[in-house]
Symmetry: C2
Subunit: 254 residues, 2 copies
DNA sequence: CAGAAACTCTCTACGCTGTACGGTATTCTA
DNA sequence: TAGAATACCGTACAGCGTAGAGAGTTTCTG
């Protein structure tokens, strides 16, 4: 149990890896694998079994080689995670034209990013101390900025607005995954956890000390309990956020 | 390198730990330590040396005991992290009255939470699969909801709005920490990283392929470079967000 | 065409992690 | 004062990332 870090090795090597600028090696046996293949399998393992299960040995086994032979492709695990990050950022579809003006475009971007987090929950667990500036990430940044271009914002405001949306999406995805995890765990353990925790909590948590929390918690619970819908929470937050952007744009128009 | 998880043990034990409901044991030697003391030292270690450095052995050493003796206080590392989470959530100051109406109150909450993340960067790295419902977390939830009470929102909307703000703060703190880390690393390695990465990136990243990204990236870079101010980015996002809430409230008033 | 060089891959090994287990010392209860 | 309960420690195990040395394969060079 530690934390996965991204990007801590030689920058030249990292960027060459991400952009795939390898001169075709001449001598030596032909490689069994390719870097994108390794990244793809690593993503699959992390998706299915979680980030802690993604060890070099586990990944190597999946690829039919030994752990150490992975190090001929990738300098270390940190760089591997960089590759995984750029890989999943290449999955988003980026249509050139979208209905609904800037609001529709931003909505699309927000939902795309959210979907990416939900598809790859481990994304929320990698600490990007430096951005892995791979081709897919750069392409995505460009696409997302274009959605904000020419609607009355300055260049700096465009950047700020995009950051704001992506920050919110990240946080919201975190909340949604948490909720989904709690509900879906057919491993029963989670449900059991709550069932066992509830009476003890009730014993220790006096409603009169936390009146607002109790009232709202109950209201939110009743609203969501049977069919808690993280989508709705996300839609609410995104609507507020876009309204805020609209208010700013309005000050530029008159 | 794996990922720290919170809350995976026996719920009864976890909640008893968090709320400190231990009957005074009668027999046996007196404990050298207390649970809050252990949690406090663990927080200090994680603050100063990062979450990966917080091993049971390291923590025990700091406390003058062996690793295994910690297990008489805490069932495992996951529960320890739960305790750490609740501990830092008890540091926030929660004044009863604040100027500036609901906007001022929400601003205070957002800044408090952000400050907490900046003080304890490891918070962004713990994957809370279940919320550690300790006394401090519950108190905070209650306080934050009160800031939203009686301003024209329904109970469910209050909960949604609070989630939205907290989600955004989490994401924004993540971005800010990233930026701070890149700039402040007097360990030189980070600066060197960029210095070495820049020419290679320039070689591989053709501006004509990513016109918007290049233009805005340059603009944002110039604006921020000499004195990048994550505070400003945060202030911008928070303002947009509060404007969005204001727009909703306005529809309720007329 | 032979030899060297470059490359891939494997084996072994080190220090680290969380923690299960068993033993010992201490303190309170009966 | 005997026995039970508790706190603490030493050892041990499986797993981690990866350093280093060596074996095997391919291709370029002379």
């Amino acid at each position: 149990m530690t934390t996965e870090y991204s990007g801590s090795g030689d920058p030249r090597r990292s960027i060459e890896l991400l952009w795939g600028v390898q001169e075709r090696p001449r001598r030596g046996p032909k490689p069994k694998l390719t870097v994108p293949q390794i990244a793809a399998v690593a993503v699959a393992v992390a998706d299915e079994e979680g980030l802690p299960a993604l060890s070099m040995r586990r990944l190597a086994e999946q690829l039919g080689v030994t752990a150490m032979s992975l190090y001929t492709y990738v300098p270390g695990k940190a760089e591997l995670i960089d590759l995984m990050l750029d890989t999943v950022n290449g999955e988003l579809d980026m249509p050139a034209d979208l209905p609904g003006g800037w609001r529709g475009r931003l909505r699309h971007i927000a939902h795309q990013n959210r979907a990416m987090y939900l598809r790859h929950p481990w994304l929320l667990q990698v600490a990007t101390s430096r951005p892995p500036l791979g081709p897919n990430l750069v392409a995505k940044y460009d696409y997302e900025l274009r959605a904000l271009d020419g609607i009355g914002l300055t260049d700096v405001e465009m950047d700020l607005t995009l950051s704001m949306i992506n920050d919110y999406v990240h946080g919201a995805a975190r909340g949604a995954l948490h909720a989904v995890h709690v509900r879906d765990s057919s491993a029963v353990t989670d449900q059991q956890w709550w069932e066992r925790a509830a009476p003890i909590l009730a014993e220790v948590l006096q409603p009169e000390r936390y009146p607002t929390a109790t009232r709202v918690g109950v209201a939110a619970g009743q609203e969501f309990d049977a069919a808690y819908d993280p989508e709705r929470s996300f839609a609410y937050g995104l609507d507020r956020l876009l309204d805020g952007v609209a208010a700013l744009i309005a000050t530029r128009e008159h």
